[in-house]
Symmetry: none
Amino acid sequence: MAAEIICVGTEILLGDIVNSNSQYLAQELAKLGIAHYFQSVVGDNIQRIHSLLDIVRQRGSKLLIFTGGLGPTPDDLTTEAIATYFKIPLTERPQVIADITAKFAQRGRTMTPNNRKQALLPEGAEILPNPTGTAPGMIWQVAGLTILTFPGVPSEMKRMWQDTAVPYLKAQGYGQTIIHSEMMRFRGIGESSLATKVNHLFELTNPTVAPYASHGEVKLRVAARAESIAAAKQLIDPVVEEIKAIAGLDYFGSDEATLPTVVGTLLREKKQTLSVAESCTGGGLGALITSVSGSSEYFVGGITAYANGVKIKHLGVNPTDLDAHGAVSEPVAQQMALGVKQTLKTDWGIGITGIAGPRSDDSAKPVGMVCIAWADPDNQVFSHTYCYGSDRHRELIRYLSACDALDGLRRRLLGALS
Amino acid sequence: MAAEIICVGTEILLGDIVNSNSQYLAQELAKLGIAHYFQSVVGDNIQRIHSLLDIVRQRGSKLLIFTGGLGPTPDDLTTEAIATYFKIPLTERPQVIADITAKFAQRGRTMTPNNRKQALLPEGAEILPNPTGTAPGMIWQVAGLTILTFPGVPSEMKRMWQDTAVPYLKAQGYGQTIIHSEMMRFRGIGESSLATKVNHLFELTNPTVAPYASHGEVKLRVAARAESIAAAKQLIDPVVEEIKAIAGLDYFGSDEATLPTVVGTLLREKKQTLSVAESCTGGGLGALITSVSGSSEYFVGGITAYANGVKIKHLGVNPTDLDAHGAVSEPVAQQMALGVKQTLKTDWGIGITGIAGPRSDDSAKPVGMVCIAWADPDNQVFSHTYCYGSDRHRELIRYLSACDALDGLRRRLLGALS
């Protein structure tokens, strides 16, 4: 009983809006365990909507979810297109007219003749009420298909989905099995290296394991189909544990966990504090750390030393080292980490200095080279040089630097030595 | 010669990501004047990709743009699916292997056997180079179709589209009439207020004027269809000038202009320098300023004073004022702005202190209240309290604060007094 999502709207074909409705409905179908293999976008055109109905019937899809094209203007013709495809006449529904009239009155306006169109539904179709807008949808069982229509306005569609469509689908027997998943997050290992290590798990069928890459982390989604979340977890948990054992410290958390939340939890547990000295990131590391509500418990502050004079005067960086090694060097990063820790009196200090690009400094160092140092509560200092590649954008290099600064701190808080 | 956009990826069907690639490509097709009536999403499944190829051929579409499924893992199978559909063997391209090896080496990593797969393209297909990632695409003329493939990572896809696909399509005769537009950007005025002021322009047909709202700014897109960019500009420019006259200082720039680039240009022209003292933004204002390459010419650095102790000791905030007015107050913001300017010896200083939420501090002040102060070269200090609304997210409140800090500086650099 596969479903399809069909979004109707020339504005999507023109790229004027992003198709967020499809994403929402896709998540909702996954939650209900309804299989869904295709999504389509089609313009406001009766013939093309008809051709799409031919295709979805050929594919054997049984549940069709339409969004868009229910408005009062002449180019809103989703309902008409569906009705004419099945050769069923449209009839005006008095309760829709009454509802629209009342809503207009409430806003101090009068219903326009255009709006009468929104009360037309194919004979035999049920009204799918729209509590927050004027365009109702429909639920129609026709020719072995279940067709649901929604307006394109996301807030109206979501409310109608939750209020009416979900209970309806559950009553029809959907949602007896659900899909539950855990998104495992990794840093310090590439997608292909991780895939190589867990390759044998990609052949599992329930749960399934699938890799995702995004900036700053690699992810594995472990997803199971079962009758309840608890039953799905029983399938998922052993695989998650196996992956954790394989990945070691490269795994940093699941689902809502992020590097700043994980580091924050560790610092809070240890009752330790942190400060940062930033050059190329310009404050971005501090901003990432303080993206977590409650970070004031462990984050004291930072010194952004974009100019070398600030590195010398406010972080105690040795001018001789700046001359000898350049501003982008591990000795300078180390002195920044130690300097900020001592100036702001914290347990940990991080120093970052690098070349975010697109131009290099006057040295021979490549764009994308970033030196990061960590000063620990015993004033031991560790440092590492990262090369993110000169083909990468300035903002991405800065973001990856901040992620690795946090990842390095996470590993040290967990007792890794290097 | 209609085009179709086909996005391959189970993660889209699961709703894990929004399909922003389709929107970008749709906009680009519109700019080139290429007709485009259908978009599809299909999972990582060879049979279903084959069925979609049947459908697009039946519809008579000639230009097929695929994104996604070019990665190194077993579920990346777009290229294989397309090749097997046309029964053309895949061949390994040595220059792709060389390119991937070089990119891995630059990042200090070794290519895994998985990545070899990314060098396989159907015989007869041209490589569509990927300057910023490891997965190249292809341009393939086969069976009367033109097929272009791109990886799913948006930044890589966009770069490949601009660098290679657009010139290729133009050489093929696409894009004879073009749509050219100017995106005008505003801060300090709401969407509906601006719309009311320029309401008479929304009825124009060539150029058209359309409003867009996004976080941190309001935009008006002035777009014209013409035979050349120069001809389109002749239609656009008078309307842009009219809107500038209406909007006054609320207009800050067009197209690539952002608040940090506009402020940077003004500071550079005046040969003045800037430093920032941040509390609730945690470094985000500095990060926004230094998102501009070359910002070291005018940005000296910052002090992030998340803890009150740092505000007192390193920014010279008076403890009595902290007690009397609270950390989130204009007197404290003013002392932060003046303190950082004097400590880091810059012409301008900005201070930000606020409640980013989701919880308030212990005072009666609401979440979303942010005090911003600007200290000018004559040590005059101005300040303002913004209320972004407690229903807004922490990250949005922080971002809007940084935008208004820059917008206030911009207005003062342009001679506005308040």
